[in-house]
């Protein structure tokens, strides 16, 4: 199918991430933190988009996968006493992230299995429950710091690591769903019975969506843990899952670019609203309500029509700042 992302794109994105990472210290710490959160949220939202947006399996347990990745990778790097900057830190960190992703995807498989029997609201409640179970189990494990949290994680995440994963997750998901094979995801989402009736193995697609989505959520958790250097179970509660779902819904279910933009926007928004101090969460919530009323299909709908935007921009050199809402 058209609009395949080539390997060249991936290479260029990785090189760009590496180059920017060299100069990351010239970015102010506050802005740098926001940029890192944007990257991590883009990974989380894009991976959830595969499950919710493309495969149509409404999952509310993404924070649980993130927690698994965060704790797994943190245990690995701290028990190996990796310190940032050393030559050994890079392969060990990569390995730790991948292990975190694998542990998360194993649980993704466990969560995916009920999705074969449950639909809609029931699946949402089940995944919500499983996400909470993961959190509660971590909270009761003393060697993970229990409710006190896990301290002393090496600050290994930098711009390169986060945005390299951003590039990889976009590359993987775009090529997965835009292939002829990947249209099976859309078919399962639209009508599972009809999908089966044309020969799509719906079970396999759902399992792939859950394991792949959970894998990247686990890696995002690892990146997060090694950026904030302190994690505790309450960071991975239901609200975190909910924030990620909101990013997907606002960006448009199954819209890759839309979800990336929404993840960035919704990360920046609470920061930009700091000026109005105590009202910011009220305004944030209000904006979400307005978006959902006026654009129920998400800010950007199913697909962003770049051609139309370009035509409009080139016709009017100074576009009015009306936004997309």
């Amino acid at each position: 199918m058209k609009r395949h992302l080539s390997k060249l794109y991936l290479l260029l994105a990785l090189v760009a991430a590496a180059i920017i990472a060299r100069y990351q210290s010239s970015i102010g710490p506050y802005y740098f933190q926001i940029i890192m959160y944007i990257g991590i949220n883009v990974i989380l939202a894009s991976s959830l988009n595969l499950i919710n947006g493309f495969a149509g399996q409404f999952s509310l347990g993404h924070a649980g996968f993130m927690a698994l990745g965060a704790y797994t990778s943190a245990v690995i790097t701290t028990s190996l006493h990796v310190s940032p900057g050393t030559a050994a830190s890079y392969p060990v960190f990569a390995l730790a992230l991948i292990c975190g992703g694998i542990v998360a995807s194993v649980f993704g498989l466990l969560v995916g299995i009920p999705s074969l029997r449950l639909k809609g609201d029931y699946l949402a409640i089940t995944t919500l429950g499983l996400g909470e179970i993961i959190r509660v189990i971590i909270q009761s494990l003393n060697f993970l710091g229990a409710a006190r949290g896990f301290t002393g994680i090496a600050k290994l995440s930098n711009f390169f690591w986060v945005y390299a994963v951003v590039a990889i997750v976009i590359f993987t998901i775009a090529n997965l769903v835009r292939s002829t094979y990947g249209r099976g995801f859309l078919a399962v989402r639209d009508d599972e019975i009809a999908a089966e009736a044309v020969g799509v193995d719906a079970t396999r697609y759902k399992i792939i969506a859950f394991t792949t989505g959970a894998f990247f959520a686990g890696i995002a958790g690892g990146l997060y843990a090694h950026f904030v250097t302190y994690i505790n179970p309450s960071q991975f509660g239901f609200l975190r899952s909910f924030e990620i779902v909101v990013m997907v819904v606002v960006g448009g279910m199954g819209n890759i670019a839309g979800v990336i933009l929404a993840a960035a926007l919704l990360t920046i928004l609470p920061e930009a609203l700091r000026a109005v101090a105590q009202y910011r969460m009220v305004i944030y919530a209000l904006l979400l309500i307005i978006i959902m009323i006026s654009r129920p299909q998400g800010l950007f709908g199913q697909r962003i029509d770049w051609g139309r935007i370009w035509r409009r921009l080139s016709k009017r050199p100074s576009p009015p700042a009306e936004g997309k809402t």
Binding site: D190, D191, I193, A194, E196, A197, V198, G199, T203
Partner: protein
């Protein structure tokens, strides 16, 4: 014998929809299942395509037992279904819907040929090729569902209520196309239909179902003349 159904039973929880139906479909024929609402016609068809699981009995396709195969495995054997209520992929375009029909095929040039064939058959579809399936009218969706099923190049085509919810004038067109598929492509067709008159006019053989059982079967022409059938299903007084 292309399809053999032996003592098929289908239950939904405690409700027994099909209570031991046996029937056969011969290669190259159009066989129709007629009967009132709730007679078990659709359930029988869905059991053949694997969408609904049989709770008893056997279904054999070209001698092979397919009773416990999953739906996608049955498509791979050469059976495809245009499901009741059409079940179009609403967010995929008409072309993408058709491409999904050929999901298991890897012969791109032949798929392209088949696309041209169904567009020649249903010119309306070609006009709406880039429209999302959900935006098509009821009749167009029905054509799309049949066309999509054809793109799997089935040897046995299952049609579930193709006349349901579409304009009477279109019903005739659709039935003409069904005959065309049968004659030109040699596809065997198992047709479930409430419009008994229409179904009997194109079928070779017919089964009359009543409360989950076969009440009567025989060549379609004979069934159409049967006194009781005329009164019960064709609304005629003799």
């Amino acid at each position: 014998m292309m399809l053999e159904i032996d003592n098929l039973q289908v239950s939904y929880g405690a409700v027994r929809a099909v209570k031991g139906i046996s029937l056969t479909v011969e290669q190259g024929q159009i066989v129709t299942l007629i009967g009132a609402n709730g007679a078990g016609k659709s359930s029988t068809l869905r059991a053949v395509s694997g969408i609904t699981k049989a709770s008893g009995g056997h279904i054999r396709f070209e001698g092979r037992d397919i009773t416990s195969l999953p739906a996608h495995g049955i498509v791979a054997l050469g059976i495809s279904q245009a499901p009741e209520g059409r079940m179009i992929f609403a967010n995929l375009t008409a072309r993408e819907n058709l491409a999904m029909g050929a999901y298991l095929r890897r012969d791109a040039p032949e798929i392209e040929k088949d696309m041209e064939y169904v567009f020649a058959m249903f010119p309306k579809l070609k006009e709406r090729i880039d429209q999302p399936g959900g935006k098509l009218s009821g009749g167009e969706q029905q054509m799309l569902a049949i066309a999509r099923a054809l793109l799997a190049r089935p040897r046995l085509l299952l049609l579930d209520e193709p006349s349901l919810g579409i304009a009477p004038i279109l019903v005739r067109t659709i039935f003409e196309k069904i005959v065309e598929v049968n004659c030109q492509l040699g596809t065997t067709i198992l047709l479930v239909e409430q419009n008994a008159r229409m179904a009997l006019s194109i079928a070779h053989y017919a089964y009359v179902l009543e409360t989950g059982q076969v009440r009567l079967h025989g060549p379609a022409a004979g069934i159409a003349c049967d006194e009781d059938i005329r009164r019960a299903y064709l609304g005629e007084h003799c």
